[in-house]
């Protein structure tokens, strides 16, 4: 007999961060949430990760910034944002009033910049956690923190000291051994790991003998990268004890369930927000029944239950 779906518990714990449900939206794919208010019931989301902020405003990369590829897209947005002060003044009050956990994504060019950002955010109200974007392929040097275990460990440890928020480290798939980086982030005290950022790629216009993107290289996202993201979640789940957040090509309840079973305690929806703006709502609608189908009464009961 399947469980009564309404008795299924959807809340999840990511270290010190509690979410009402495991369906979040990924940084850079949901703007500052305000944009989506007409299409999505924002209150229902488990967590919102707004677009990554930096200390100073950044114009971002020149167009062409995105190009569609087979079942995916490449982007080289380049962290276009108005800086931390504008974020706190103009975006945070709206986000904080919504209800879902607000997980502020930050990126710095140095460990010190990450620390300064974390300290500045510490003084602001309405933040539930920070996500360290140590994996953006679109800013020179951006992936370095996420590609080197000792740098990653240092950044995570410094941010943990600099603020009292739960810390999520968002890792890049563009390394040989993600597990090694994951262990370094765990050792430094990360509450959870977000897996993964985009896969470095490129598109070529052969007629003009030119790269298609203004910034030459870009990050691949969407359904095309789901198998890579699943593989990394599965591998990292064997390597660390802290909770994982699955990200990469998730667009349906089946995709989300695959990530839970492979080892993710929560998921973030990214590119799907672009082509199916209400995807998160449909996944949320279907979640209790999908969990009940496995005889589970909570999300936790299915996380990492994959056999060989």
């Amino acid at each position: 007999m399947p469980e009564n779906p309404t008795s299924v518990r959807l809340d999840v714990q990511l270290g010190r961060l509690r979410l009402a449900n495991p369906i979040m939206v990924a940084s850079g794919t949901f703007g500052y949430a305000r944009e989506m208010a007409g299409l999505v019931n924002l209150k229902r989301l488990g967590g919102i990760v707004p677009k990554t902020i930096t200390q100073q405003p950044r114009a971002g990369n020149p167009p062409q910034r995105t190009v569609e590829t087979a079942a995916g897209m490449l982007n080289s947005i380049g962290l276009d944002n108005d800086g931390v002060e504008a974020f706190i003044a103009r975006q945070l009050p709206y986000l904080a009033a919504l209800g879902p956990a607000v997980i502020v994504s930050i990126a710095g060019k140095s460990s010190e910049e990450f620390v300064q950002l974390a300290q500045r955010l510490q003084e602001a109200d309405g933040i539930d956690a920070v996500e360290l974007n140590v994996s953006c392929p679109n800013v020179s040097g951006g992936t370095d923190f996420g590609a080197d275990p000792s740098l990653c460990e240092r950044v995570v440890a410094s941010v943990r000291r600099a603020c009292s928020y739960p810390v999520l480290a968002k890792l890049t798939p563009n390394v040989t051994n993600v597990a090694e980086i994951a262990r370094a982030a765990e050792a430094a005290g990360a509450d959870a790991l977000s897996l993964v950022n985009t896969c470095l790629g490129m598109a070529v216009d052969w007629r003009r003998r030119r790269p298609v993107l203004g910034n030459v290289l870009g990050g691949l996202s969407g359904p095309a990268i789901k198998p890579i993201a699943l593989r990394i979640v599965y591998q990292v789940a064997q390597a660390v004890k802290i909770p994982l957040v699955g990200i990469g090509g998730i667009a349906s309840i089946d995709d989300a369930m695959e990530f839970f079973v492979a080892g993710a305690s929560a998921v973030q929806i990214g590119t799907a927000n672009f082509y199916d703006p209400t995807a998160t709502m449909r996944i949320l609608d279907a979640l209790p029944d999908a969990l009940a189908e496995l005889g589970a009464r909570s999300v936790k009961e299915v996380v990492g239950t994959i056999g060989k």
């Binding site: 850079g28 794919t29 971002g60 276009d80 927000n273 199916d276």
Partner: protein, 286 residues
Amino acid sequence: MSTPTYADHAWHGPVTVDENVCIARDTYRIRFACGEIARRVLPGQFIMLRLAECNDPLLGRPLAVYDVSADADGKPHYLDVVYLVVGKMTRLLAETPAGARLESWGPLGNGFPPTPAEHLVMVAGGIGQTPFLMLAREYSGQRTYGDPPRKVPPSKKITLCYGARGSEFLACVEDFRRVGVDVQLSTDDGSLGHHGLVTELIAPVVERSQWPCRLVCCGPEPMMESTARIARELDLPCQVSLESPMACGIGVCFSCVKKIRDSSGNWDYRRTCVEGPVFDAADVEF
């Protein structure tokens, strides 16, 4: 700085193709029922259209709303989109039969502001005529759009300067003539109308006009840039509707940016989907 137009009144869902007909070379008009969008859309706003549950092409494509028409009860019900086949999605769209399902969201973007225009001069290149039919209907006083309907003081005259590669690509000309628009054509190959660039038609229209002119322009970027320059030289107000490629259409991906100048003359990348697609030509850094 302009205030963004978020998708606060947008609708998202499946739509069923009512008809999809070839109206000029590589050019089609597709019609589907969607009262939610038809009721609200303003001239110059666009929708995103996507092949249902299709992963390749994956993303929606921005397309201007060409026309809205009523159901049997007289309520806005059908949306018409006119599109040129240029790539992956439009090629598949051209093969989409009546009865097929698409996904759409909209209306999106700011659309043209209801600024009075005694002589409205619409400059279109390529497939850039598509946002202008509704604008012409509105400025001729024949129709109102929006919910609640917005009021625009009727123009004394409306001209469409419209250019394409050759006469076989010119689409919708009769629709404009039926609204009473003075249509001036140009073709690159001289097969119809003025042999040359559509922008060469602007100055003569303005010089002959008895009224102050206001320009609106949509088409390939070089043509919009040149229209902006002509407007500056003739000291005429001019708005352009940019055709920046978009991934989401709702302001969340930051792919559709264009350099836009603020009042102090500094530029910043602005999202054309929510801060445009219509901008004052003088603010656009081409």
